[in-house]
Symmetry: C2
Subunit: 600 residues, 2 copies
């Protein structure tokens, strides 16, 4: 079956990519854009920057020490999208592999001399994921052979050592290769990589060992910490190992870390990672919007982890967080043109970004860029969108659970369904049964729908539903219809008082979307305002719902010493209408200031 994650056990089972056929809509459009535009865009830039040329032996070698991984993520995207450029690119990669399976364009002459920063095993991880994608969508070919040879080399070289890589990734890749081939050495190698981390297995670095999760063994950690992408990839691998080895303790450890991280270290958008200096999680409740790092790749890693935990536990909270992150991080990372990307996703931008031609040497948020020096995010977006149907629904023993409401067809077991919806703009989800059949149909009622008077209609009855699932059992006749109504109303959301940087502010959400005030050109400035907490007005602009709230602006002044003997007064300048756009659409109108959290 074609799917990026195929656990051998768990409360839920993936349906496989072929079981979900997206139609035009929020995600269907992006999946098509990715296949038609983004994948080729990534390949062009990897050629232009010389990262593909590295595999042809072109000198001097170009790009950072981990640039090989970008080609592998692109190959994974191509595999899921059945893209015609894959075979030739795979051949280019294959020719660079050495006789014993070693493959790295940077470290070929000095193998494994820098585990902290070398990224060799990290690169293999992405290569193996590409190979698994190809195996499951096409069957054996040159790419799958390269991946298997590399994995076998890794098992021979590292099975009995105490070493590991500074950047986790290979762990989940090896488990998936085990799932795809049945060869237990891959699972055993992954298990050992997870267990030896934190003993410690790596050297000291200026950021400290927590940066690469080598400070304590994973089972003993309390929350995700250090570099966010590293922490989340490691957690994915740990869940995969736990599921395949029946290691309940390990699974519980990751779930506990997830709980605390979601409660204390996650931005409203679902974005993870507060700090720019080391792209890391902050301490508990350290969530300043200004410098929210919220790397696109960390959002993707969080979606990957949510998916694994959802399948393993069936806990619908993981689908809720995945939805939040899909709409507010993944969708934000890609411009509407499919050719430019955010690396960091701050929740506040005080100064409009200065447009950059070509490669953006800075990864700060502000304006989407076509490419970066460290360009991990574009190819990560590409592989995720190419495999996105795998996240839409899952199966349990009774039938199908639809987690993400997107138009298209879903087929599994005795069920063939057509989903029609304008989600996330509109909350009506209509499911039509296409063929006579059996089985339970469960539609997720998102956590955000709490208190919205959501209803579920089927078999001629309409009933209120609460967050969780709206479920109905068959038998079904072709033409039967189920209808979930999730009232879409903009709502104000307030932060926990322990998040210092958000005290006295509120944000607006609507359905799964976080909104933000955006100001371009002569629109009202966002630096000094107090918004009225009233129901926002709605406007439809280019098919998207925009909102408007009233705010009192401050009277501009030069400012003196900004600390005084009395509390500051509220702004008492003119009243203005603030335009709120979905956070994922911000930055598409040119350089702008932006804020998610509004002083109220």
């Amino acid at each position: 079956m074609a799917d990026p994650v195929l656990p051998s056990s768990g409360v839920l089972s993936p349906l496989g990519l072929d079981a979900v056929r997206p139609a035009p809509g929020f995600w269907g459009d992006r999946i098509a854009l990715n296949r038609e535009v983004t994948i080729a865009h990534c390949q062009e830039w990897m050629e232009r920057e010389g990262w593909i040329g590295n595999f042809r032996g072109e000198r001097p070698r170009r790009g950072r020490e981990f640039s090989d991984s970008e080609i592998y993520k692109l190959l994974e995207a191509m595999a899921w999208a059945d893209h015609p450029a894959l075979p030739e690119l795979a051949q280019t990669v294959a020719r660079a592999q050495e006789g014993d399976g070693y493959l790295n364009t940077r470290w070929s002459g000095s193998r494994y001399t820098d585990f902290e920063w070398g990224h060799e095993l990290y690169c293999y991880g992405h290569l193996i994921q590409a190979g698994v994608a190809r195996l499951r969508t096409h069957g054996e070919d040159v790419l799958t052979e390269v991946a298997v040879r590399a994995a076998d080399h890794v098992c021979r070289r590292f099975m009995t050592t105490t070493e590991t890589c500074g950047h986790p990734e290979i762990e989940m890749a090896l488990v998936e290769l085990y799932r795809a081939t049945g060869a237990e050495r891959y699972l055993e190698m992954a298990r050992r990589f997870v267990d030896r981390r934190g003993l410690p297995a790596l050297g000291e670095i200026p950021f400290g060992r927590a940066y690469f999760q080598d400070d304590v063994p994973l089972r003993q950690a309390q929350a995700f910490r250090g570099h966010a992408v590293r922490a989340l990839y490691l957690a994915c691998g740990a869940v995969d190992v736990a599921v395949e080895t029946g290691d309940e303790e390990l699974l519980k450890a990751v779930e506990g870390q997830w709980e605390r991280t979601v409660a204390r270290r996650t931005h409203l958008t679902g974005g993870m990672g507060s700090r720019h200096a080391d792209e890391s999680f902050g301490d508990d409740y350290e969530l300043p919007p200004d410098r929210a790092y919220s790397e696109t790749c960390a959002g993707i890693a969080s979606i990957m982890l949510s998916h694994r935990l959802l399948l393993a536990t069936g806990d619908v909270r993981h689908a809720d967080l995945a939805e939040r992150t899909l709409y507010n991080v993944l969708a934000t990372g890609l411009a509407l043109d499919g050719r430019s990307f955010f690396y960091a996703n701050p929740l506040r931008v005080r100064v409009p970004a200065v447009p950059v031609e070509g490669v953006n040497h800075s990864a700060e948020g502000g304006l989407r860029s076509p490419w970066f020096d460290v360009s991990c995010c574009p190819s990560n977006i590409a592989r995720t969108l190419a495999s996105l149907p795998a996240y839409v629904a899952a199966a349990d023993r009774d039938g199908v659970r639809v987690h993400h409401h997107t138009p298209g067809e879903i087929r599994h077991g005795g069920l063939a369904l057509r989903v029609e919806t304008g989600y996330p703009w509109d909350g009506a989800v209509t499911v039509t049964v296409l063929e006579d059949g059996e089985g339970r149909i469960a539609l997720r009622v998102p956590a955000w729908a709490d208190g919205t008077e959501a209803t579920f209609a089927h078999h001629g009855v309409v009933r209120p539903v609460a967050p969780g699932y709206a479920e109905a059992d068959g038998p079904w006749r072709a033409g039967d219809e189920l209808r979930l109504e999730l009232p879409m109303r903009a709502r104000w959301t307030f932060p926990d008082r322990r998040v210092d940087a958000l005290r006295g502010t509120a944000a607006v959400e609507r359905g799964p979307l976080v909104y933000c005030a955006e100001s371009v050109a002569d629109e009202p400035p966002l630096g000094d305002l107090a918004a009225a907490v009233e129901p926002p007005r709605e406007h439809v602009v280019d098919g998207a719902v925009e909102l408007e709230v009233r705010a009192r602006l401050g009277v501009p002044d030069g400012g003196g010493w900004p600390y005084a003997a009395a509390p500051g007064e509220a702004p008492d300048g003119q009243e203005a209408a603030l335009r709120l756009v979905p956070y994922h659409r911000w930055g598409n109108r040119g350089p702008a200031t932006m804020r998610v959290w509004l002083p109220v």
Copy 2:
């Protein structure tokens, strides 16, 4: 005259180090500690780390590319302190100088191949400052000769090029060498370095050219920006050039940038620099306490700039900021033992630091460390404390202005004064005239004394005084007494509403000192509280005034999704007494959490 800054014109003139003789007290104790402990501590660590050995040709070379500068800052400290270890260390340096004056242990074989990061001119800057210090305290010797040869090499090599250094510093050093020697080429070279910056003169780097102030010419900038130490050192050099060349436009540009920076980019402590990633200023009002970087060296650079602007303009606001920064950054950077240092000075620490043995590879604040990989701060503290008497008072045409109230003797022109005070713990400052004489005596009334009913007594009259100066004219008879009373009461201070990260909080100050809540071991936790805005209680502990405020604590919970449909309630757990310590004393009781800004 012995003084680190001797402008040839300006509203105020320095008195010279010999004119101010500090007695035991807040600063006198630290000046003595520095001379007796800190200077030797720095030399020991520079030997241990091999940075002095680099000058002896020991291989492999050790330390970062700018480590030579640490030896030069230490030599400057030794010169001001007339330390006996100077001559031998200066000889070691001299032997490494090449025939044409070039001197750098890192780049000797590849001179001037990396202006962005090489730091060669930066290192010369510190060498020249050391040479000037030696010239003014001792006269010509091997150190002054090395410095002059290096400066002459720089003038020959760079006078007609378009190049400059990625790290400003040499500009102010060359102006001071001009002041010390009268050789105009040094001033001209400094002027050219200031003017060519921002044309641009350097290459693009990932942080962007603003990092090293090469984005726009200095005259066009609106505020200090980029790497804080770089920005402030450059501003010092620009003021020096402006004063010596009579360039009013340049001086006004720096003053304007200072105004905006103080109004919008400065922490309550006077600390400058918000961001860890590039040790830089943030955008306007981006002043989160959590990640306040506030590098000790940036505080020192700000004190250096305040001093220059005070002398040039006579504007007492520069003395106010200098006082704030002296007491809350410089004094914070050095532990009470004189052997350990803060590099970063955050205003909030959520998780107690883990003690590190030996070199601290991380420069995060939390626990003072004996040494760092980049150990710019210890030697910067050493040279500043060694020359601190120069900052205490200045002269105008009428007499003496005392800017910093510290016990000791001050002699200038017809005035000989003894100052007695327990400042900053006590606000009474008694000045006794030691010899019959003439001249105005002006005592600074700090900005913080506004509204405190401060009084000034002399010639038998007592009158209220407002911030600025309390002044009295002679003639004076030996034994005459003047008495400034600055009532010391703890006061609550509130942030400008535009500083998002501080909304809903207040801090406590007392005199020039910022206070913070510190929690070690089983003291009340600081993560979730609401403080009562009432007059704090005072306690004297080890000669320092500590404060106590009441706060309501939150009931601990595991936490769920930290964003909700209703505003969070105030903490309603137990009431506790919070211990507030002077910010400069925090972290001396072991690993602790800390916060300056308290939710109220």
